[in-house]
Symmetry: C2
Subunit: 311 residues, 2 copies
């Protein structure tokens, strides 16, 4: 079954690894968020794409959920010795990826072509597409009026700042990367991974053409709630949902996706949300979504693929 998945970082990567236990990698296309891309020390870092690529390539640091397993931090330490602020952790193997990406970008290679080179080189069978080759950057304004870039908010300040608004700089002028719209159109099933709806899936949907393609494909789109019992399993989703006017609940997420997906997977613990999700015009499906082990992720993916969307 040809499957296209919209993905953020760690949660999506876990799910996608589970997905590949059921469907062959050649049938899977991942559309990744690049809104949290950033330049560190002159190098272009694509955190979400790399998390997905490293996870599917089997080299991710499984404890952290990002970075390369067994990586060292000699380059970062040297930068620190040279007086450079190194609050963003970058391992040496990871630096290799960023050095290559930056060099290729400088040569005029598109981010999507670079993502393709990297995933092929790392033996990842699934296609990994950035949402856009154009620059889109997630920005925050705190309730105190301070502007923050994504990694400032997310890593440096451990998403502790209270946020008043989120924006996706550059999104209005961005175009979907080559193959993104086609991957949505041609898939038998589109899955919105259990990623942060505001800052992981949000930037993807902000690229003109992608939301429209999903609307047209709504009947075959299944979203998985990243919110269980009102809380995010990881990260600041629960605190960011109210910033975009949504409740911090599975129903709140369902409301954001109501126009783009017909089926909405919520955790069994949230059976009480079913009626509200139905009221939004979505078909709720109760499944075990807390991916504490790869087996749970694989079972979740298998059940989603087995859903009869015409039923």
């Amino acid at each position: 079954m040809a499957v296209t998945a919209l993905a953020g970082g760690v949660g999506a990567a876990k799910f996608l690894r589970g997905l590949l236990a059921t469907v062959s990698a050649a049938e899977v296309t991942v559309i990744g968020n690049t809104g949290d891309d950033a330049v560190f020390h002159g190098l272009h870092v694509s955190p979400d794409l790399d998390i997905v690529t490293y996870t599917l390539g089997g080299i991710v640091d499984a404890t952290k959920g990002w970075g390369v397993a067994g990586d060292t931090r000699n380059a970062l330490d040297q930068l620190g010795r040279l007086g450079i602020d190194t609050w963003f952790w970058l391992g040496d193997k990871d630096f290799g990826t960023h050095i290559a990406r930056t060099m290729w970008l400088a040569e005029g290679v598109a981010l999507s072509a670079i993502a393709e080179r990297i995933r092929v080189a790392l033996g990842v069978g699934a296609r990994i597409l950035p949402m856009s080759d154009d620059q889109v950057r997630t920005r925050f304004v705190t309730t105190a009026g301070t502007e923050l870039e994504f990694q400032d908010y997310f890593v440096r300040h451990h998403h502790a700042e209270e946020i008043a608004s989120v924006s996706f700089e550059g999104a209005a002028a961005a175009r979907p990367a080559p193959g993104v719209v086609e991957a949505i159109e041609q898939a038998e099933r589109v899955i919105i991974c259990p990623s942060n709806p505001v800052v992981s899936i949000g930037p993807i949907l902000a690229v003109p053409g992608i939301r429209e393609a999903l609307r047209s494909a709504r009947h075959k789109v299944v979203a998985v709630s990243p919110i269980v019992e009102g809380a995010a399993l990881r990260g600041p989703a629960a605190r960011l949902l109210p910033v975009v006017g949504a409740e911090a609940s599975a129903s709140g997420v369902a409301g954001l996706y109501a126009d783009i997906c017909a089926t909405f997977v919520v955790d069994r613990r949230d059976a009480g949300e079913v009626a509200r999700i139905e009221a939004l015009g979505l078909r709720p499906v109760l499944l075990e979504t807390v991916m504490e082990t790869p087996d749970v992720a694989a079972a979740l993916a298998k059940e989603i693929l087995a859903l009869d969307l015409d039923g």
Copy 2:
């Protein structure tokens, strides 16, 4: 005693470490060769400056004579995994230096200001100046007519190619870096380190203004022959001297420096060269120049500083 030294890479660095056993670091200025600078994987590498800085900072890989002691090669391996040709060895700590330098250059910081930042951060007391902030690149043409960049010739082809000509691209338009001419003018003693006269000292002398400053200071300039018994202790000097019309001997080197130094140190093994060096108008001094241990380097430097140049 205020000492200014013209330096290439490994041989110069060994000598300079010996020099600092006698003279305080604050009195030493090093003018380094940047003709073999190169861009690898989008990063600006300054091999000779780094060898000197790492050596004086006490972190050099003493076995190789370059790179950082105990460095790992994870970034380079990752670049290799991504299909990039990694014939030029770069350790992870070393990558940190190149990443910082490249970032600062992109911000518009001059190479000399960057060299200053790095040597201060690494605790090097001696001032280290690149010969120029402008780009000068050593190029070769082989006898077969092939053009080679410096690192191609030196590292990739292990200086095995037969060379027909050497040129310093950009040298004619380059200006000495801030402080270079003053360091020559104001020094009590100027030492031309035992480095390759063609491709380590040659590029420095090719920057307009530097050779002239040395000519004016000739009485206080002491050069150390890198050629002992007709052979270079390291590298291709003996094969490159004939390319610039010089004999592969201490006298051949003395001939290249006749206008810029009054005193020429040759190894005791080359006592037979004394008459020819005198005939070139230079005062020959016989010393032990083969720096097999730091003690020999320190003794050599001490004797050079003790020379009575007015005698």
